[in-house]
Assembly symmetry: C2
Homo-oligomer: 341 residues x 2
Amino acid sequence: MASSVTGLDEVVLDHGSGAKLSGELISFVVETLGEVYIGEMEDSAMLSVPAGRIAMTTDSFVADPPFFGNGDIGKISVCGTVNDLAVVGARPLYLTLGMILETGLPMALLHQVCTSIRETALEAGVQIVCGDTKVVRKGEVDQIYLNTAGIGVFERAPLRMRDVRPGDRVILSGPIGNHTVHLLSIREGLGFEQRVLSDCAPLNGLMDTLLTTVGEGTVHSVRDVTRGGLAAVLHEYARASGHAVRFEQERLPIQFETVMATDMLGINAIHAANEGCLCLFVDPAAEQDVLNVLRSHKYGAEATTIGEVTGDAEPLVLMRGADGRDSVVEELQGAELPRLC
Amino acid sequence: MASSVTGLDEVVLDHGSGAKLSGELISFVVETLGEVYIGEMEDSAMLSVPAGRIAMTTDSFVADPPFFGNGDIGKISVCGTVNDLAVVGARPLYLTLGMILETGLPMALLHQVCTSIRETALEAGVQIVCGDTKVVRKGEVDQIYLNTAGIGVFERAPLRMRDVRPGDRVILSGPIGNHTVHLLSIREGLGFEQRVLSDCAPLNGLMDTLLTTVGEGTVHSVRDVTRGGLAAVLHEYARASGHAVRFEQERLPIQFETVMATDMLGINAIHAANEGCLCLFVDPAAEQDVLNVLRSHKYGAEATTIGEVTGDAEPLVLMRGADGRDSVVEELQGAELPRLC
């Protein structure tokens, strides 16, 4: 696809010059974003916010491949930031969008990324308020990297890690491992990508439904399970609470094909990155209520309790096996799995 | 320099895994940023803002080389976003920081970048509220790219492009072309980099001094002169105002060595990127007051009037030569000068 604005089929160095072609590239992006873009073409966007506390976050996105079966880096770039705002209890409002483009990137792919950003922003109810495009020479970046930063407002008390306590139930909103398996399957040519899709989704609607329905103080803290996987999240909570967090191996929601693929890849789903899975710490008395609300939402249909915060005052992550025995889950140094988000 | 936290001399792939080494990389960055980092290690920062309008902006930074004579990409990343907030009349408050790091980047260079970010943020009076680090494989990015997004508050009326009007004086706060010459001189080995330094500077203090001193409504609109140079800024204002903007060639503030270097490089200083130069459109009655205030500040010592918005209802940029004749300055398609910021 040639840009209707520039007449060019691919990104060229002069698209990043700050001169006429830069303006045309920006027009191409802005037109594709459509109604979700509300910038004014000043050096900064001017926005209204209510007084009080806001949430602010940022993420850069370097997914490889940038285009995959049921999404692309554009979708991830909106979901990642929307989810980081949603899990602290904020309502996401505004996103910024930074793009670093490799010379030679087909305009058709840029169009696809911007279309995904548009559709995901529409679903999440957020607006893109300003952007920036940089073009680098061939080989100075791998196709396209994005950055989004976002702000949200607190309409209720913020959720913090420090508010987890012994007895809290640990709930996952959906299966783990699928995003990683989907991307690695494409990268390595394993053939699982048709049956295992990325879970990439904006979860602010799910969070809002949950927090609106259950009583204030019921949900103590939430994280989205991204890089580092469930294990990394649980280690953070163990450290933050000073208590051991235990989960039951048999209760982990993992799709059958994902088990096969992770076995083949030699990775463990508890270390796999996801893009649409929440890990919630909730009042045990409200466990069933929370599960019911989550399961009523399309992004929480497979929500399940996997464990609890124990009374042991040691910041460990424990896995209870089928035999009823606990083993310590060590924190990985790393996993040599770059660019999953 | 090996990281005191990780014991590693350079960035490795596992620094981006989300597991233990990621935590250590983040600790290294956070410790180096010191008191300017106020994040809470939740998924989003939680901030207080007064009710009303805020400004929000973002920029990605891909400067080549990332380390130069009197600065580095870290300094640029703070100045770029601070300046974009300042020129619309906002007081910059909070920045986010996204880093994309190439495997093998020496920790010493990452330390240098973070130190620059720290020092520049301290000078500008802004705080880093959250960050993100991604690590990509060797060759998937050129050393280090940064993104900052920022928000600021309006304590006075926003300044907008549409408020320029015929008769406005066009003032530059300092010389043009130096940042481009400095970086290109290092890149091409021209030997000018000792005598021509980058102008990279946070200009929110200069803007605040100016707007506090001169009466409300005196300064109509301001842009910082970055990619695309003065010519791009003047073209934007010509389009926004619907009037021709004219400058006098002889009044352009260009350092002698910069003239030599741009001649050698075959570029024109009016198209060169800067990182610490404002282009101001001001009420003609207040021209001298504005110049006096700008010149009283270290970043405006060489402020000078270069032209005016004419009464001609044509969106042109005109250059008046030494002979008193006007010529039309065409907008460049591009300049094939990548990665100056």
